[in-house]
C-alpha cells in the first residue's frame, strides 16, 4: 500500500463536561476493512460524525487521498466519496425503495433510470432489491440493503457502517459480509463500527480500539482473542456472570395460544405464542427487532390485555388483568425503552420508583401517596444497584443510559417478583453495568423466580439463558435448551435469511475465487 486513503491526525472534540475525542490519529488504507471498536460513550459516534461532516473537530486534521479533507457537511463528504450507513435507518415506510433512495441522493437521476441503476448495483453486489417495493413491507435486513445501495450508487471510496449487524440474523450477517468483502476487494475502504468482537475478528484486517475518547490500541483483530479485545475496550478484567445451576422448580407461568392483532399499522401481531416458565429458570427470547418483542412484553405486563385463558400464573388466569393486578400477583416487567416507557424522564427518581412500586411496596394507602416511603424505596434502589446519581430527587432523564437502566431493573428486582419479564436489559449500557445487570437477573432466578429475557444480543442470551427461543414475525420458534445451540441453529430459529436471496453473491464469490 503506497498511500493511505484517509488519515486522521490529532482529532480532538470536546463537549461541555466531556472530551469525546482526544488526539485521535490512525489511517485507513484503500480496500481495507478497518474496525472501530469501543464501548458506548467511547467516542466512536463523534469520530465517524467528524469524518462524515456532521461534527467539526476542535483540533486536528484529516487527509483523503493525500489532499486535505475538512467536510463542512455530509453533502461535501459524499462529494468527496465518503458514504455512511447509519444504525437507525432513515427511511420512509410509506414510500417505495426507489423513492427512498432518490430522497437520499444529492442529484437523483430520473425514475426509470434510477430503478435500472438500483437493480444493476444491487445485483452486482449480491443485495437483490426490487426498486418498486414499499419499504414498510421490507424486513430489517432488506431495509439495510436500501441504505447500502443508496451509498453504493455514489461509488464511495470509503463506506462507514455503524453497528450494521444489530438488526440482522446470523444468516443475514453472512450475506452482508460477502458483500463487504467484495467491495473491499474492488478497492473500497470500509470503516466498520461494532462492539461485536467475533464479527470483527472474522471480517476486519485492522482495528482501532477507543476508550474514553482516546486510541488505546491499534491491532490486527485476527491475531487477538475476543477476550483480549474486550479487555482493551473496557480497560479492566471482565467479570463473567455466573450462578449455581439448579434443577428447575414447579411451572409458574404458562402461556398458550396467545394471539393479538398488531397495535398499530407498523406493529407486529402476536401469533399463537406459547411457552411455559419454571421457577428458577431463565428463558431467552431472541429475534431481530420489530418481530413482536414489544408486543409480547406488553401482553405479559398487562399493558395490553390478552384473551382470557392465554396467560396463567400458577394455574390462575391473569390474561384479562391490568398491570397493577398482575404486579400484585408477582408478574413484573421492564420494557425496552427507558425514556418514556419504563421511566418518565422529567419526573424524579422518587416518582419513578412509585411508578411501578406502588402496589408491592405499599407506597399508596387509601389513594394517598406516601412520599417518604417512595423516597426510601428509590434510595434503596440507588444503593442496592449502584446507581450513580446525586440523589432520588434527580430527574430520571438526567441519568446516563446505563445508570437509568440499573435503576429500572433494580426497581423491579427489589420488589421480589415471581415472574420477571425484561426486554433488552443491557441495550446501550456499558460493559461493566451490563455485567452487573446480568448478574442481578441470574441472582433473581437463583432465588426461585422465573425470568423471561427478550434481547437482540445473542451473546447475552447464550450467557444467561437456560432455554432459548426466538420471535419471528410474531411467532415463537420451538423452545430448545440453550446449551449446545449452534449459531446456525439460532439463525434459523430467528427466521433464517428472511427469504433474502443469496445466489448472486455465491456466483460472484466463485468468480472472485
Amino acid at each position: 500500500m503506497t498511500q493511505a486513503l484517509l488519515t486522521l491526525e490529532g482529532l480532538t472534540k470536546a463537549y461541555p463536561g466531556v472530551v469525546a475525542n482526544n488526539d485521535i490519529s490512525f489511517e485507513i488504507g484503500h480496500g481495507q476493512v478497518h474496525a472501530l471498536l469501543g464501548e458506548n460513550g467511547a467516542g466512536k459516534s463523534t469520530l465517524v460524525k467528524t469524518i462524515y461532516g456532521l461534527v467539526k473537530p476542535d483540533a486536528g486534521r484529516m487527509t483523503l487521498d493525500g489532499r486535505p479533507y475538512a467536510p463542512a457537511n455530509p453533502r461535501m463528504a459524499r462529494a468527496e466519496g465518503v458514504a455512511m450507513v447509519f444504525q437507525h435507518f432513515s427511511l420512509f415506510d410509506a414510500l417505495d425503495v426507489a423513492e427512498n433512495i432518490a430522497l437520499g441522493m444529492d442529484n437523483p437521476p430520473g425514475r426509470r433510470q434510477l430503478a435500472a441503476r438500483i437493480t444493476e448495483v444491487s445485483e452486482a453486489y449480491g443485495l437483490p432489491l426490487d426498486p418498486h417495493r414499499i419499504v414498510g413491507d421490507l424486513s430489517a435486513g432488506e431495509r439495510q440493503r436500501v441504505e447500502i445501495v443508496r451509498c453504493l450508487l455514489q461509488n464511495p471510496k470509503l463506506l462507514i457502517m455503524d453497528e450494521p449487524t444489530s438488526v440482522l440474523t446470523p444468516q443475514e450477517v453472512d450475506i452482508l459480509f460477502k458483500t463487504l468483502r467484495k467491495l473491499a476487494a474492488e478497492g473500497t475502504a470500509i470503516l466498520y463500527i461494532s462492539h461485536k468482537l467475533e464479527e470483527i475478528r472474522s471480517l476486519c484486517e485492522h482495528a482501532t480500539v477507543l476508550r474514553l475518547g482516546e486510541v488505546v490500541a491499534d491491532c490486527d483483530p485476527r491475531q487477538q482473542s475476543a477476550r483480549d479485545l474486550a479487555e482493551l475496550m473496557v480497560g479492566t478484567t471482565l467479570h463473567t456472570p455466573s450462578r449455581e445451576a439448579g434443577a428447575p422448580g414447579e411451572v409458574l407461568l404458562e402461556v398458550t395460544g396467545l394471539s393479538l392483532p398488531a397495535p398499530t399499522d407498523f406493529g407486529t401481531a402476536l401469533r399463537d405464542v406459547g411457552f411455559s416458565l419454571c421457577a428458577g429458570e431463565v428463558l431467552g427470547i431472541g429475534g431481530v427487532a420489530g418481530n413482536g418483542q414489544d408486543e409480547l412484553l406488553a401482553a405479559l405486563s398487562g399493558e395490553r390485555l390478552a384473551p382470557a385463558g392465554t396467560i396463567r400464573l400458577r394455574g390462575k388466569d391473569v390474561g384479562r388483568l391490568p398491570p397493577n393486578a398482575r404486579r400484585a400477583l408477582g408478574i413484573l416487567a421492564a420494557p425496552e425503552e427507558r425514556l418514556g416507557h419504563s421511566a418518565a424522564p422529567e419526573m424524579s427518581l422518587t416518582e419513578n420508583a412509585l411508578l411501578t412500586g406502588a402496589v408491592r411496596e405499599k407506597l399508596i394507602s387509601n389513594g394517598f401517596i406516601s412520599w417518604p416511603r417512595s423516597r426510601s424505596f428509590a434510595q434503596r434502589i440507588i444503593e442496592g444497584f449502584d446507581v450513580r446519581t446525586p440523589g432520588p430527587e434527580v430527574a430520571a432523564g438526567a441519568l446516563s443510559g446505563g445508570n437509568l437502566q440499573k435503576f429500572v431493573i433494580g426497581r423491579e428486582i427489589l420488589q421480589a417478583p415471581d415472574i420477571f419479564v425484561v426486554n433488552q436489559p443491557t441495550w446501550g449500557v456499558d460493559a461493566s453495568a451490563a455485567a452487573a445487570i446480568r448478574q442481578a437477573i441470574l441472582d433473581l432466578s437463583a432465588k426461585g423466580a422465573g425470568v423471561v429475557v427478550i434481547s437482540q444480543d445473542l451473546d447475552e442470551l447464550m450467557e444467561i439463558s437456560d432455554r432459548f427461543t426466538a420471535l419471528n414475525e410474531g411467532r415463537l420458534a420451538p423452545i430448545r435448551p440453550a446449551k449446545g445451540l449452534t449459531t446456525e441453529e439460532i439463525g434459523l430459529m430467528m427466521g433464517g435469511a428472511h427469504d433474502m436471496e443469496v445466489a448472486h453473491v455465491e456466483t460472484l464469490a466463485e468468480v472472485d475465487a
Binding site: G53, L54, V55, K56, A72, N73, P74, S301, G302, E303, P322, P323, N324, R327, A333, P335, E337, G340, H341, S342, A343, A344, P345, E346, M347, E351, L354, L355, T356, A358, I364, G367, F368, I369, W371, A395, G397, A398
Partner: protein, 364 residues
Amino acid sequence: MSLIRLEKRPAPSALLSAATPVLAVIATMIAGGVMFWALGANPFEAIRTIFWDPLFDPTFGAYSRPQLLVKAGPLILIATGLALGFRAGIWNIGAEGQYIMGAIVGAGVGLALYPTETRWLFPLMVAAGAIGGWAWAMIPAFLKTRFGTNEILVSLMLVYVAENILASVSSGLLRNPEGHGFPGSRNLARDFPAASNPELIAGTGMHWGVVAAFAAVIFAYVLMTRHRMGFAIRLAGEAPRAARFAGVNPARLVLFSLGTAGAFAGAAGFFEVSGPAGQISIDFNSGYGFTAIIVAFLGRLHPVGILLAGLLMALTYIGGELAQLMLTMPAAAIQLFQGMLLFFLLAMDVFANYRLRFGTPEVA
C-alpha cells in the same frame, strides 16, 4: 444557517419557569403601552388605569374592588378544573358550554320549586348546577373513550349548542311568567331569597362561588401533590406510555378530568346566575369559560398559580372597562391587551426551555 438560534436546555430553567408570568406581565405592559400610545392615549395613564385605579382610586375603588373577587371567582373555579385535564393532555375547550348548562340546570331546579323557603334549596341547586356541567362534559368524554373522537372539537362545538339552549329556555321554558313577555327568568338574587347567592361580607364581593373557588384550589393542590389520581394525571401528561405501563387507565382519566372540569364550570355557572347575574338571560354567559383557559396557562396549570392568575385576569377585566370608560379606549384594544398577556407568557415559556445562541451552528 442563521445567526440566532434556539438551543434546548438540558433541563428547563427553574428560575425562568417561576419568573415567566412576571416577565410576561411586564412585557405586556410595555407592548400594551406602545399600543395605547399609538391609539393616542398616554401609555402610563392607561397602564395605571388598568392595573392601579380599580383597587386604589378614591372615586371608583369602592365600586370596583368587590368586582375583583366577583370576576376572579368563576375564572379560578373553572380554570382549576380545566388544569387537571390540561396536565394530562386532555383538552377541554368547552368550559363555556358547561358553565351555561350548569347555570340552566341549577337555576331550573330552583325555579321549578319557586317559591319555596327551605334552606336545603340552595345546596340542592349547587349540586344540580355541578351535575349540569358534569353531564355536558360527559358528552365529549364518552365520545372520546367510546369512539376516539377529538375532545377539543366536540367540547367546543357543544358551547354553541349550549348557547342555543340558553336562548331557547330564557325566552321559553324558564321565562319569568311575571316578566311581561320579556325574555329572561325570574331574578333569583332579588326575588327568591332561598335560591340567591348573596354577598357574604358586604363590600368584598365575596359570595359562595368565591368560597367554592378557594376550596377548589385547595382540593386540586392536595390531589396533584398527594393523591394517586394527581400522579396519574401528571404521568399521563408527561409520558403517556409510561402511564399505561404504570397501570393508568386512559379512559378513566378522561372521564375524571373532563367530569371534574365540567362540574366545576357548572357550579361556577350556577353561582353566577344566582348571584352577580341574578337571572337566566340570552346574554347571560360572558366568556368566563374561554378566559379560564388563559387563566389556567397563565397560572402554569398549578392551583396556586391559577389563584393568582385569576385575580390578575379579573383586574385586567375591571381595569379594561375602566379604561374604556375613562380614556374612551375601544373594547377591541382591551381584548388585544389581554391576548398579549397569553402571547408573552407562551413566548417566555420558550426561553425557559431553550437558550438563545448567537453565531453559526456547528451541525448543518
